[in-house]
Symmetry: D2
Subunit: 401 residues, 4 copies
């Protein structure tokens, strides 16, 4: 009996109804537009229509935590993120998609009033979009000390050089601002070398090299970019928080971001489960509906158990962030980052198998959802890094009892 607040329950009902009425039916329209577009990096008009509807319904910026001026706690928001996450185009409809939520959070927490006026407002309004330029091609970026990009002070400006990839959302034609991580002082202490800085997308020296593909899909029109920064010059006032504070900002950004990803993935897995049930009830092979075949029922039962458990752990992590802060909830956040993406990958793989060849194709959301789950096992630190860290923490906790 998960304890949801009335406020959250009411929003869950509203969101579910909105998804049924508008978002699921729009998926096909959205993808058909992109597939037929001369330039795949064009925003399907239906997206702005959906956003308008969501704004009017008051289902806008729900991600914003009450500690930062929003309406909801992380615990209240988590089930909402699950519902939006059931469609890969869902979160943007409600202005709740990555990486914009994380970037808005950074600006909310660490931005100057000027930075907020210029970039946060239009992000809040869904007028522009943003990217987070952290991962680099040549190093293991899960270890922030490996970062090679440089941010060098030059009078009233900073000059930025570096190569980033997997900058999600950067190819989106509406993307106007990057939060960029680089080193201001490679000789400082391990976690004080890095800084973050705002780089407008149209600054000279910024070059979009290519879209990255994920298992063959370019995820247009949102996508993931490889970008080079060559002597990119921005005003010194674009620096966030201060020199050497980049690692600290990254840490603060990642906690809620991971919970949001996990909840969305739970939404994907839950939808895949429901699709398995529907498919197995409607499909017959060798004279018997799939729904009566033992291995199908086992796959469905196992999936439900895995989803239900991952959901409960993620809700627990969200509540812990509310209560203890991201740092105090570190173990639980690591736990869900290990659990939820792998769970979603497994459940969706089973759903693909039950859908036959259609499951790997463009005709369901399963292939894209699978690729999303698979990617998150690498994004924000690969599984192995989180397991090593959690294992170490637990040994420290129990070994001296």
């Amino acid at each position: 009996m998960q304890i949801d607040s009335d406020r959250s329950l009411q929003l869950q009902a509203q969101l579910t109804s909105f998804m049924d009425s508008y978002v699921y039916p729009a998926e096909h329209v959205y993808h058909a537009f992109t597939d037929a577009a001369e330039d795949r990096w064009t925003i399907p008009p239906i997206m702005e229509e959906l956003k308008d509807k969501a704004r009017q319904a008051g289902l806008w910026n729900l991600w914003r935590p009450s500690t930062l001026g929003g309406r909801l706690t992380n615990r209240e928001y988590a089930p909402l993120a699950e519902i939006m996450g059931r469609s890969l185009i869902g979160p943007e409809v409600f202005n709740c998609n990555a990486p914009d939520t994380g970037n808005m959070e950074v600006l909310l927490k660490y931005g100057t009033p000027e930075q907020q006026a210029e970039w946060l407002e239009p992000l809040f309004n869904g007028e522009i979009r943003s990217a987070f330029c952290m991962t680099e091609p040549d190093v293991a970026s899960s270890d922030a000390t490996n970062i090679q990009s440089s941010i060098v002070r030059d009078g009233d400006h900073y000059v930025i050089n570096g190569r980033k990839w997997w900058s999600t959302g950067a190819p989106d034609p509406r993307c106007s601002i990057y939060i960029f991580m680089g080193k201001t002082d490679p000789s400082a202490a391990r976690h004080q070398q890095q800084s973050m800085i705002l780089i407008p997308a149209n600054t000279e020296g910024v070059k979009m090299v290519r879209p990255m593909r994920v298992f063959g899909s370019d995820d247009a029109p949102h996508g993931h970019a490889e970008i080079t920064f060559e002597n990119v010059r921005v005003p010194a006032s674009n620096l966030l928080l201060g020199e050497g504070r980049g690692f600290e900002i990254a840490q603060g950004r990642l906690g809620p971001g991971r919970i949001h990803h996990c909840m969305r993935l739970i939404g994907c897995a839950q939808r895949a489960l429901e699709m398995m049930c529907q498919r197995s009830a409607s499909r017959t092979a060798f004279g018997k509906p799939l729904s009566e075949q033992g291995s199908v029922r086992e796959d469905i039962a196992k999936s439900w158990c895995e989803i239900s458990q991952a959901r409960l752990l993620t809700l627990e992590a969200a509540a812990a962030v509310d209560e203890l802060g991201a740092k105090g909830a570190r173990g639980l956040i690591g736990g869900i980052k290990i659990v939820a993406p792998m769970m979603a990958q497994t459940v969706i793989d089973r759903a693909i198998q039950i859908h036959g060849a259609m499951g790997v194709s463009q005709d369901t959301f399963l292939a894209d959802a699978w690729a999303y789950a698979r990617s998150i096992r690498l994004a924000d630190g690969p599984d192995q890094v989180h397991m090593a860290s959690l294992g170490k923490q637990l040994i420290g906790q129990y070994a001296n009892d």
Copy 2:
């Protein structure tokens, strides 16, 4: 942030302290007594000492649900069952062990005042013990219609014939009463053929054939018996609830029983996790403490994630029983029965591996705990039966959305 009531939290603290002070230190004494005993089926005196202490501390019969005159809800009791379950000799200390709790529950719910006076009172007091005679050697007993034992009315008596095995606790010298399941009318409707009846252990015609062993262990002095019933005659008033109500009683008995088993197994797994941490911190191989080896940390992290998730699902199931009754909570109860034993088996297997040869031996509780987990994957319905049933239920639920 699992929401425990103050009452439950206080009892958790008391129990944890009692376990630390008395139960863990008694494990070795208990087993050493049995191993040295001339007759392994003798109760180690320390058990009655521990029971006295628990009675005095007010930690007695905590399993009894508030709906049946007890102090606690299922949700409040669940974390207590986990704590007691951390030792295989723990639950009996608090008069909370299987199968006595289930049998007391049956007598509470369905017993006549006379039956309760004669058998329930001494069970409540921990003076006698009981067994549940359901499983039969020759048929798949998870399907109750397969039961072959007969209960035949003969004037003021019933005459019982049949062969049962895996009657847990029956070899215990204090075991005085059996709840026996058989068919009163094999020609009735599928689920109205079975009845339950009380058979005192010392009735003529009852013959203890042998103790069953679980992976080589006889689990003395408690154990599991194979028993034959040959023209066993008991008064008609020993029948429970009425002819043809056996299946109904069995169903009512199994819900809370499964939750209790699952919580105990979560306790076993949690203790195994803590042992892994301690072992890995103290053991060195190839020049490096185990605690610094990547695969050890991963095993520990994975185990913690699996335990935490299973615990949350089990608490959810307990709360659902409180709120919806065992029938309404059917899906969740099936879910934890699938999840918790397999999880415990896996976690304990990892702990064994980290303990090396000691892990399979009599020198830790791991081998016995593993065997307990493995057995529960078969007891009260094998995993496959629960998965098939839950899968079918989910298909029915989602296929028509």
Copy 3:
């Protein structure tokens, strides 16, 4: 010590050298051409260059079994298929790619001299390509009795109606001929309803509906098509073998085809293993090369064990086909179809993880190879069908001992 013939060993060495010199270096050229092409369904010129080289080197049509006029047994060919399969563009270079090999085999075995002259010769020469139109969108095609397409005799012609998808290679501009499966007599016995017929790609009424995508990738310029056949009329002499023989032809086609797929996947997995080793030796995270991290070493060791075992089983299956025919080797062929794709999927997934974000991108062959492995778990019968069939066969074999 696998026993390879001298002939096979010599060809293995030649192929390995050819792959190193020409094929691996061409992968990037090939994909860059397709990505830059105005029409993605254009053949990169380098492919014909590679084919010329292979022809001149005598590494051409090696798949053709000695029983059908070729040089090699299935057992001798199997390690060669593994080597070619290490590159996704490899098999075509040697005229050994699916579905052409299977289609050529069908024409060799069942084609009339006229059919062979018209279609087999240019296929042998690599001048045209072919597709196999079997799978249908609306039914579980792994159960051939579900086929809905019709082939109706009309005087000297047959008239074909139906919808097929996943016709691999059909979008290739060189694809000239389809082998099409449909029902000539839906009222005949279960396995005599189906027939196969040759349909030239340019016949009126054939309509390419769209390319199917596999996890977002269109696999251009080879691809997989959805095709409709509307009153397509071909001469009666295009029928293969005779009315009602379609199921029989399908069965005969699938045995060697499955072995070839499995060997190619073993090649993919082996290459992924080698890439894991190289990556882990060159990449550092948290101050330590990946190659010294316990979980990386375990992943590599497990992968090697799984690959080695799958390879041996596949070689055994190939030898069994040589000795006993496809029917006699049914159990082993089912076994490798269950084992090899799942093994490859697992090993490649580990390699992806070790490669970080690069692993899911277009920058290595891993993402495409993973999608290939995943697809084969569905193609030619999903895993579940093969497990059910093998399980049944084994029960029959051992239950009566």
Copy 4:
């Protein structure tokens, strides 16, 4: 098509027939004797009868490799070890059981003529038995440098002190000789500190502390002992090979020993598979034979695939030892040590599940076979050690290609 020699094939047929006629029927007699014996450490008379029969049939000492005066290669012997291993009492019947085979091999290779006359002869004849005292309770013995026992020269004698456990076969009343590993020079180079020495079981200062139990089973009358050695004095001529050669002897001993264990475990798994088939054909639940249930068929199919693959890899390893020696076959031996015990554990666990409660009991060989498989995952180096070592070797091999 595994290539077995005629000699091996003939012995396979003979052994299979012998097992059917004599060994399987004796299992119950053997265990019933032990269970009823006043002293469980008494040899059931049927064992010597079986040994006589085997001697007369020429099925004796088949393990002895042709390179050491025997009849068969390792590759020829491997399938024979599988057949004997199908019964846990099988190997001893043919004088092919651990640890005697390994000990005989050590004496054959490294023993002086005097040592051979005194100990090897009666071992060859099956008149006495032996133990291998290597593992110690307080350290990770998989790392031989951890060994703490001491062997100190004192004039014409060596004086031995130490504590060993898991000395398999030591409790057997016929066990007369121990091969003991300890350190002669703790200050020598890492792998030259250890020596091996012969200690007659009845030497003063040798004390059998207790039998170790494996998941509750004492494995009587063979068993595993904890033994203390307190100032045990033996003639200097009892040393094997020379001071500081202990590690070298251990390495030489372990290769074939691991292959033998793996083949026996494959025999256990194969028998479990056959039992699953038979059980599923004869058992009905919920109105349907288990044999028609999808998940049962899948379990059986998967098990067959896993067994078949492990068998092929083990035969490959045996052939590699014949061709390249134990050192050259190191990778393959590590591979099967990783694969076969885990495979057997998994397959037998499935068989247990299909057998229901009977599966965990003393009524089938499954529980004991499972415990054997589980133990071997720890014996002769835990899985993790072999994976780390194989992974490192593979990285070295492929990273520099």
